[in-house]
Symmetry: C14
Subunit: 91 residues, 14 copies
């Protein structure tokens, strides 16, 4: 039963840290992009359409790195191959 | 009973750290975006509608990373598959 | 009795750290937003109503991340499912 | 007697750290908001009433995060459910 | 005698750290507010009365967070409920 | 069974840390590039096409470093040669 | 004799750290306030009296946080209730 | 079997950390270079060709440091001489 | 002899750290105040007397925090009540 | 076999850390140099040849420090004298 | 002999750390003051005498904090009361 | 054989850390110098010869500190007197 | 022989750390002073003599803190009173 | 043989860390001085001789702190008095 417990504990900790550490960068980066976009729209209201489109493409790129972390976190909780293997072999 | 305790302890710690670390980035990012939005509205009051709309879309994107952390934190407390498995097998 | 003590200790520590770490980001972000709002009102006194409204929406969004942390902290102290389970099973 | 001591020690440490770490953010944020408010009043003395009112609302929001920490700290010292439970069951 | 010693040691350390860490934020924040107030008075000598009043309200708010830490520190040294309980039960 | 557990634990932790730490840099860098692109488009709306193209090439370069981390993370979870070797030899 | 030694050691360390860490913030804050005061006097020599008075009130507020730390440090060295209790009960 | 496990564990951890730490610098550096390139093109649209060429040479140089890390990471996973030697000698 | 040695060791370490950590803040703060004073004198040579006087009062305030640390450090080396007590009771 | 394993483990870890830590500085430095070069070309398009030549010499100098790290990393993996000696003496 | 060795070791380490950590602050502060003095002399060559005198008083104040550290360091090496006591009592 | 292994392990780790930590400073410094040189050439194209010569002397000085680290790193790997002594005496 | 070895080890480590940590501050401070001196000479070539003289006095003051560290480092290596005492008493 | 090994290990580690940590400060400081010198020459080409001479004196002062570290590092490797003493007494 020990192996199962150890793998479980480690998966819980890693899943939590992965998403929490992995969100710092994207959140700050999106904050910066949004802030600059508002600045740019205030300077060039006529280009609001172009600016908004570029902003959304950029946000999608940045969000993708947060999603990588979320995916790894979910895999570790719900589809952990190490846990499955150890549980299958009777732990 | 040991396995259950260990998984429980680790889940408690991770749930707390996930949400507390995971909130630093989004909070700072939203603060920056809101601050810049106020600046932009002060510079271009006529574009207040466009700026506010862009701000809200941006805040939603940023909030999403905080919500990822909250979701993982809640899963670890109330729907923890490792805890359920160990509790089901008599711990 | 050991399991109960361990879960209790860990819950106490985590509850405290969650709210204290989780308050740093929102507090600084709100400080930034309020500071910039005052600046903006000083530049555009005529837009005080719009600026104040945007500020309050933004503060609500930022406060929400602090409240996530407070909720998790309260759950860990007063509605901790791990503690309840262990206490129910006679520890 | 051990469980009681351990829970007690951990509660003392956590209560102190919660309030001391939890005060850094709000204090700095309030300092920033007050500083900018003074700047804004110096630039727009005619708007002193509006600025002061906005400042006070903002300070109240920021102070609230410090108060969350103070509340958790007080609960841990004077109304700690884990301590009460362990003390009630004879420790 | 052990429990008493442990609780005592931990209380000493926590009392010291609480007040020393808890003073960094308020001190820096007050320094910033005072510095900006001097700047503002130099720019608008006619508003010295309003500025000084706003400064004092702000300093009081900031000082309050330092006082929370001082209160917790004093409670831990002179009115520590955990110490009292353990000392009362013969340690 | 021990070797298998150890390799498994270490792979879980490393996979999570690799992607979470490895996302901080790219996310911040993309945020900066997008922010500057919006600034540049606001200054030179006529060059929007050139700027957008350069931005996308740059984002691709930056994203590539995040993808290196994601690839290593996936290899460690789903195609770990050390795990396979140990599992194949009966662990 | 052990309890006495432990409490003593911990009190020595805490007393030193409390005052040394607790002086960083106030010192830097006073430096900032003094520096800005000199700047302000150079800009508005006619307001030197008002500026100096505001500076001294501000310095007193900031110094108060350093004095909290000094008081706690002195209490821990010369009026430590935990030490007195343990020494009185024969340690 | 022990040696094999130890070398394996260490290789897994190192491979992950190498690429994740090694990507922070290049990612940030590329973000800065791309951001400045966009700025420069906005200032001198006529030199877009020269600027883009210089940017690509620079990005290649910076990417090279990320690739050094990726190469070392891959060597450690798929062509680790220490692992091969220990596995060959029956480990 | 053990108690004496432990208290001695801890006092040596604490005395050194107290003065070395406690000097960082005041030194930097005095450097800032002196630097700004030179700037201010260069801008307003006619106010040199007022500026110098304010500078010296400020330096005295800042130096006081360094002196708190020096006093505690000297007390710990030459008038340590814990050491005296333990040495008096035969250690 | 122990010595061999220990030297092997340590070489793996060191090789990875050397190149990953050693790439942070050069990458950031090259990013700064490239960014400034683009700025300079935009200001003085006529000096593009001189600027590009100076940039390449500078990049070569900076890259050299990254190459020192890569060389040491490769030596530790493929030409490690300590490993060779221990392996030769039967380890 | 043990007590003597322990006190000796601790004194060596503390003496070194005290002076090395304690020199960082004063050195940086003096660098700042000297740099600003050169700036001020360049702006107001006619006030060179006043500026130099103020600079020297300031440097003396800052140097005093470094000298506190040097004094404590020398006391710990050459006039350590704890070492003398333990050596005198035969260690 | 133990002594040999320990000295070997420590030399491997130190050699790697020495060059990797020792490259951060020089790399950043060279990046700054090159960046400023490009700026200076763009401002004063007529002085390109003088600037380039000064830059190369400066880069040589800075590179020298990186070379000190490389020399120590090489000595530790290929001409380690401690390893030679221990290996010569039969280890 | 043990005491001698321990004191020796600790002296080696402390001597190295003292000079390496103790050089960071003075080096940076001298760099700042020299940089500002060059700036000042470029602004006021006529005051080069005064500026150079002030610079050299300042550099001497700053270098003095580095020399304190070097002196302590040399004392610890070549005139260590603790080592001499322990070696004299037969270790 | 143990004492010899311990002193050797510690000397290796310290020698490496001394030079690598000790190079960070001087390298950055020289980079700053060189950068500012290039700036100054670009502003005042007529003073190139004076500026270059001042730069070289400054670089020599800064390099001296790096050389202190290199000297200590070399002493620890090739003229280590502790190692010589222990080796002479048969270790």
């Amino acid at each position: 039963m020990d192996s199962l417990t150890l793998i479980g504990m480690v998966s819980v900790v890693t899943a939590g840290l992965t998403i929490s550490i992995g969100c710092i960068g994207p959140a700050l980066a999106e904050g910066r992009a949004v802030a600059q976009a508002l600045m740019a729209i205030a300077q060039q209201p006529d280009e609001a359409a172009t600016l908004t489109r570029t902003l959304f493409v950029g946000l999608a790129m940045i969000e993708s790195t947060a999603i990588y972390c979320f995916v790894v976190s979910m895999i570790l909780i719900f589809a952990n191959p190490f846990w499955d293997h150890v549980a299958a072999t009777g732990g």
